[in-house]
Symmetry: C2
Subunit: 263 residues, 2 copies
DNA sequence: ATTACACTTCGGTGAGCGCCGAATCGTCCG
DNA sequence: CGGACGATTCGGCGCTCACCGAAGTGTAAT
């Protein structure tokens, strides 16, 4: 990594942590990244509206985020489609959010309150389940001896058998071939939910079996009647995490952060 | 998480990713955090000198970092001792550094060049081994079937046996009790080295057996003669990662970043 | 006591950057 | 072809904040 140039000056390369952090140090850019943590693809205009800034401002932010390697883009016609660069990015963002301090925000409308409630209840976190439901899943699996947590997390033999019985492929069929489990710190509850390959497989299976359904736009999940039965039967999840969101049904709007300008 | 206040205004709490990132978005504060990634404890004055700023400036930065929960402090007499808040913090910082873009820096002295070379060769990363040596260890273990990497990393049965034969406690003695392995992205090589409980146990064992020794101040490691023999015997590590740093021995100075003021 | 030292507080300065609106570019649709 | 629309560029405004030095506080050493 150390190079001597022709003029006998030497330079080296150092990872520029401050430059990367500066990308996330702005509220608008952070909101954009958190929005994209749903694992989906948003257009520039959607992100601008979500973040509550003018389209021109959003363009500048998106340029920076793409140039910095946090976001990937795809241009289709006059649209610009954005998503997170990859799983590594998503995971680091989640961990960072779990370490971040809380900030009080004002709730401006009933729709926003409902949306937020739904987010806390169950949502996607890139490729797995987060929110109260995600945390409850991880904790129930631990209580039933399917997971072991001590200085990390591991799937037990019983856990592997449980997944296999449910028909969830988890890639851990031999001692030399163990399933990849991780946890990530849930922003809303500060407790851990399941991620890694097992977390992703569980999410895909739950979607396929229609235990949960995903709101058309956004990252909100709802537990179906079949899901309530399955989660209760398989893991004995308590009723409160299986109940639908207490107020109105999850709204598909994207007013997740408080805009700094009143319209 | 949603509360209705007495005056019927509602607020909620959201993790403030931008606030946390802002702490790391400054070069000086980032340098301080990276310095503390050696897992040790530094005084405020040492950090000020390392970062190349006045003591008063360092005080302000340290106040922010402690208030933000990234650093822990201990006041002893007129000194202020700083360290990273915990393993979670260290791990997230490492991952972030692995995602960060590179920045060219000038090398100002031979001592600095040697120091940097030594850092690239072998260093601590909080509680495990990083640098070329750390990456080589992880890769050799994978080649020999002690680790399996696919969408994560896991210790194989052979890997558990290998650790046991070496007398390295790794806490994975039953199927319900598996060893905790992780990898983290090495800043210098962009490849992965071993962390998690197994990475930490390996590091502790190598120190105890004097396969490696730690420079008094800083995070530089040197491979001993015994270490060369052991790493070659146990894992067939190539000579180049076992050789001592090619130039002068690792200097204990802390000129790791380029100061912005020549004073 | 006196001196030395580690750290802190405070005031002032300068640079960086996030924001918008207006104008423009390019694509899609009627 | 013309109008609508999504995205971009640019100029200018205002705020935030990292920096230093000088003075101050409290602890340790003589």
């Amino acid at each position: 990594m150390i190079r001597w140039d022709a003029d006998h000056e030497s330079t080296a390369e150092t990872p520029d942590l401050a430059a990367l952090a500066a990308l996330l140090a702005d509220r608008t850019r952070a909101a954009i990244c958190i929005a994209l943590l749903d694992g989906g693809t948003w257009t520039a205009g959607e992100l601008a509206e979500y973040a509550g800034v003018a389209p021109s401002t959003a363009t500048e932010h998106l340029n920076l985020l793409v140039a910095g390697g946090l976001l990937a883009e795809e241009r289709r016609g006059r649209r610009r489609h954005l998503r997170l660069a990859g799983p590594d990015t998503a995971e680091t963002l989640e961990n960072l959010a779990g370490l971040a301090p809380y900030r009080r925000v004002r709730i401006r409308s009933l729709a926003e309150a409902n949306h937020r409630r739904a987010l806390h209840h169950a949502r996607t976190c890139y490729d797995h389940i987060a929110g109260a439901l995600g945390v409850a899943l991880a904790e129930a699996m631990t209580e039933r001896g399917l997971l072991v947590r001590e200085n990390g997390v591991e799937l037990t033999g019983a856990g592997a058998a449980w997944l296999a019985a449910l028909g969830i492929p988890h890639g851990g069929h031999s001692p030399a071939h163990r399933a990849h489990v991780r946890t990530c710190l849930d922003w809303t509850s500060r407790r851990r939910h399941l991620s890694g390959a097992v977390g992703a497989a569980l999410y895909r299976h739950a979607l396929e079996q229609r235990w949960i359904i995903k709101a058309p736009a956004g990252r909100i999940l709802a537990v179906t009647e079949a899901g309530r039965a399955a989660f209760q039967r398989e893991l004995g999840l308590p009723a409160e995490v299986l109940a639908p969101a207490p107020a109105a049904p999850p709204a598909p709007d994207r007013t997740d952060i408080t805009p700094r300008r009143p319209g």
